[in-house]
């Protein structure tokens, strides 16, 4: 089912046609000999913090398939726009595809309207899409970025609920990471302090959660010219933990 272009308004009202499809599919699988394939999850720790000049996002790099580590160097921080990045937890395929679709649609929008996309627009598009699928898309997302209205951090749940926050952790290691964030978060931190805080939060998630591990990716997003942003946008901190 193709996602409509962001500039076309979908038909009005709620669209629940996939509910019937899902019920039918479940009926087929339960009765028959086939078992539904187990999706690869990113049992994960992701975190985000709003600091003075921007937003810092962090993630671990382990992707699990039940008890096996399927990918040791999985990239969970997805590019949405030059000024907007998104961390994803939950089902790996769902977070990948959702963020890819969002990124493509926002690029088309930028070209057509001549404006940089705003973080709130990305959050709204995600909300509309995820709500339409009634939680069947297992994408728990942290959306952060800087635009002309300031730095913003949003959480988007798989059922389509959003909340605008100043610090956040998600994934299976969220409770451990949240402990660090709740203790040390202060509004208007300097970038370096914020990066350290996010790194420590992810580290604590990795230590306390079996589904998180390997390395830590940190991604600070700042409001700077495109040239220097390219240099600072993606910093990979490699820490050998075993």
């Amino acid at each position: 089912m193709a996602l409509p272009n962001v500039l076309e308004t979908p038909p009005s009202g709620f669209n629940f046609e996939n509910v019937f499809r899902n019920v039918a599919l479940e009926g087929l699988l339960e009765g028959g000999r086939t078992k539904a394939p187990k999706p690869m999850k990113t049992g994960t720790t992701i975190a985000g913090v709003v600091c003075k000049d921007g937003v810092v996002l962090g993630a671990d790099t382990r992707a699990t398939s039940s008890e096996v580590v399927a990918d040791k160097m999985c990239a969970k921080i997805h590019y949405i726009a030059p000024n907007i990045y998104c961390c994803g937890a939950g089902t790996a395929a769902d977070t990948e595809k959702t963020t890819d679709l969002l990124s493509s649609n926002l690029t088309i929008f930028s070209m057509d309207s001549g404006r940089n996309p705003r973080v709130v627009m990305a959050a709204n598009i995600l909300q509309d899409m995820l709500f339409r699928y009634r939680g069947q898309i297992g994408a728990h997302l942290i959306l952060g970025g800087v635009d002309c209205t300031g730095s913003h951090l949003y959480t988007v749940g798989p059922y389509g609920d959003i909340d605008k926050v100043t610090y956040l952790a998600m994934g299976s290691g969220d409770l451990a990471a949240l402990g660090i964030l709740e203790d040390r978060f202060k509004p208007n931190m300097e970038l370096e302090e914020a990066k350290e805080l996010v790194r420590d939060a992810i580290h604590s998630g990795i230590m306390s959660d079996l589904g998180s591990g390997n390395n830590i990716d940190i991604c600070p997003t700042r409001s700077q010219s495109l040239k220097t942003r390219g240099k600072y946008t993606s910093i990979i901190l490699v820490q050998h933990l075993f």
């Binding site: 009202g13 909300q127 909340d163």
Partner: protein
């Protein structure tokens, strides 16, 4: 994250909540707590906004599944704006409440969200409407909703007086929220209150530690 919401009837984040709206002489006060929970034992957010502005003088408070409520209020906001542009005048509170009711009733199988719509319009002044889970629409002088409301039915029935002053009404709403938050585990955080009058809209936020304390606290 799945372990959090396995046994709750509402899938995902829910606003097990306390919401209320009360009319007074010249306006209406709409209020809520600020807690969002998942599965009855994890607080996802201590600062969630449950008072959504759907038009200049009309607010909605939400209860139930957060995703469903946000989707309905977004659609309602769009439809009310369009209606207001077509009529070339501010919408009536009743119109806004009816929009919510249509959405809730026509999609009652799939949605799990309840609303209180309150506001001021030129025709009838301050009004409060409640839209229940299945799409029932009622107009009342005051109403309470959400899981925490069960603990304050007695208090609100006993203490409500028609035609209160703004200060009396604020005190009434604050006390009611504080009592509900004290007894309901899925309500808490800060108390958000919005005072809507002909002149404008005023937000009052009361942090948890500044709420009135009663004899056992």
């Amino acid at each position: 994250m799945e372990r959090h919401y396995m046994d709750s009837k509402i899938k995902g984040v829910s606003t097990g909540t306390t919401i209320l709206a009360v009319t007074f002489n010249g306006g209406v006060i709409i209020g809520s707590d600020s807690r969002a929970s998942m599965g009855g034992n994890y607080v996802c957010s201590k600062t969630i906004n449950k008072l959504i502005q759907v038009h200049d003088r009309i607010f909605c408070c939400i209860a139930g599944s957060l995703a469903d409520a946000q989707a309905v209020t977004k659609t309602a906001k769009f439809q009310i704006s369009l209606h207001s542009i077509q009529m070339e005048s501010p919408p009536l509170v009743k119109a806004a409440a009816s929009v919510m009711k249509e959405l809730c009733y026509n999609n009652k199988e799939e949605l799990q969200a309840g609303f209180i719509t309150a506001g001021w319009d030129k025709k009838k002044g301050p009004q409060v409407y409640t839209v229940a889970l299945g799409g029932m629409l009622l107009s009342l002088p005051f109403t309470i909703g959400g899981s925490g409301s069960t603990y304050i039915y007695g208090y609100t029935d006993a203490k409500y007086k028609p035609d209160m002053s703004r200060e009396e009404c604020l005190q009434f709403a604050t006390n009611a929220l504080a009592l509900a938050m004290g007894r309901d585990n899925v309500s808490g955080g800060v108390a958000h209150l919005v005072v809507i009058t002909e002149g404008g809209v005023e937000h009052v936020v009361i942090p948890g530690d500044k709420l009135p304390k009663f004899h056992d606290e």
